[in-house]
């Protein structure tokens, strides 16, 4: 299992559009993806779960990834979040 704490940097946080991108990316890997925020754990492959996380700008979330491709999965997801989901702000 790999774990990493990341801060959400885009202005709107994990809103619908960003959540869709995140979940789409997570689903490309066979590893299981769990996202944790303030003690709440959700399935990173579920858009509903991701939305209910209410991760606003500046909140920190923890990715826990387990499986064959965990390393590359973590790297990709981290890049997406750090790139502000390719949003302008």
């Amino acid at each position: 299992m790999v774990t990493k704490k990341i801060t959400v940097k885009n202005k709107l946080g994990l809103h619908a559009r960003a959540a869709v991108k995140l979940v789409n990316l997570a689903n490309r890997f066979v590893s299981s993806v769990t996202i944790e925020k303030d003690g709440n754990k959700i399935d990173g492959k579920s858009v509903l779960g991701t939305l209910t996380l209410a991760a606003t700008k500046g909140s920190s979330i923890t990715l826990r990834i387990t499986g064959k491709d965990e390393e590359i999965a973590l790297e990709s997801l981290e890049a997406l979040i750090n790139d502000k989901f390719y949003e302008d702000e």
Binding site: G13, A19, S46, V47, L48, L51, T52, E89
Partner: protein, 590 residues
Amino acid sequence: MDYFRVRGTGVSPGIAYGEVLLTEKVVFSSKKESITKNRSVKEWERLQKASKRTKKQLEQIKKEVGSLIGEDHSFIFEAHLMILKDKSLLSELEKTIKHDLCSAEWAISQIHDRYNKIFESITDEYLKQRKSDVSDVLSRLYRNLKPQKRKKTDDKKDKIIVAHDLLPSEAAFRMNQGNILAIALDMGGATSHTAILARSLNIPAVVGLRNITKKVKNGDYLIVDGSDGEVIIDPPLAVQREFASKRDKYENYRKELQKTAKLKASTLDGVNFLLMANIELSKEVKPAFSLGAKGIGLFRSEFIYFQRTDLPDEEDHFEVYSKLAEDAAPLPVYIRTVDIGGEKNLPQMKIEKEPNPALGLRAIRVSLRDREMFKVQLRAILRASVQRNIRLLIPMITEMEEIEEVKLLLKEVKEELQSKNILFDENIPLGVMIEVPAAAAVSDKMAKEVDYFSIGTNDLIQYYLAVDRTNELVSHLFKPLHPSVLRLLKFIIKSAHKEGIEVSVCGEMSADPLSALVLLGLGIRKFSMNPIFIPRIKRALRSVECQNIEKIVRKAMTFKTAHEIEEYVIEKILFKHPTALLMQEVPLIM
């Protein structure tokens, strides 16, 4: 036959008559009926079928919206599709049906409640609103449990959309299909995206009707009067005729407007005047210009605050101001710093309730109390001023000291920006609203300190005559042509002219043809108003000789009462310029 008239807010002018197409708000089942185990398997199959139908619909909408108005708007349906096929949603539904032995309807209602509770507890406003996405999907799913046969031919007919509320994407989709006659909503306000969209597409719309969805059913006939903010259910023939003629008048008026917008803004004797727009959203710039506005005479920046629940940061301000500057360039934009407080209170500002808000902590008084917040706004305005078409306007100035304080803060902010090598207009004009009688009385002194005056006649008259015009017990005393008001205005205008600074009027006096003519006679050449009134004011001012109006007003100022002044001015103007006040062909509100 009985008929009802329902009042709302007209947010897009025009009149339409047609059949209701109700986009129902799904009422979720509240009764739980126990079923057998065998039956529950059937229920689960029924739900899966509904899910397939829903998926097909969403894919179809996504495709259509995408090709009609762009991928940007269709994205939300991608999210809806993902919510629909979310594993945790489906397994929760399956579990509820099979364990609780209940109908598919009940299961969806339960899950809907559960997610609503989760989203309710979220504090971030933007994310909180996402519950409507989940709710949308579940509603659609619920509706699809019972397959509905839609009559295809019926859908092609032009209809009036009646709904509780419309999501922007849904509104965009429906309006672009081009078969919408009008829109009537329970919810909504003038600045909602749906309202803006309706205006730009010339679709009459009335919002804030509270429970119109409960009062009508599919197939009912409605009149939607977006000009006066009224909806009439099942109107009898006589009422239909009345509105048909109102609609024709409106259509003619709209054609006239387009012609008027292109005409030159000068009086018969060649005196040029300038008409500008009072607006609240950057999106309003282009529509205002198409009505003939030659600049934004008043941008009410407090609307940046009204559209959110937290405090905007510098970037939020900057985004709005630079968009304004860009859309208006090279024409000027007068940005009035926040006029909050009084009746326009905001929860996020934490201003305590005051016994007398009109005389309390508002506008510049708030800004000078919370200087950091004020500096955030000043910085954003300065940064957006690089095209040199932004003017800074300070509301509710009462005394000279306030101007000095604003200047000091402005200097501080300018130095900060310079030290960071950030570009801005170093000579950004600084003006003040003259809307407190005290400021008017010392306007000769103030004219030496600022670059321009903007007279806010609404507040000025309210304070000067001590009349709250929203109080119907005294509103008849609110008289813009009261001799005292004309004297005060004359003094302000004289003060400005003496120092050679610009003076304009941005209150409602500008939008009333008679008052505007009097202002012209007093020496005003710049008027700013709600953009929809620009064509009629342009027409009034174009039909007179400025010299003659000046003479009439000079004489009128010797009279004792507002009544005498009004009578004299109307009589004289009509004698010389019989068409100046001719407004009959113009609907009261466009």
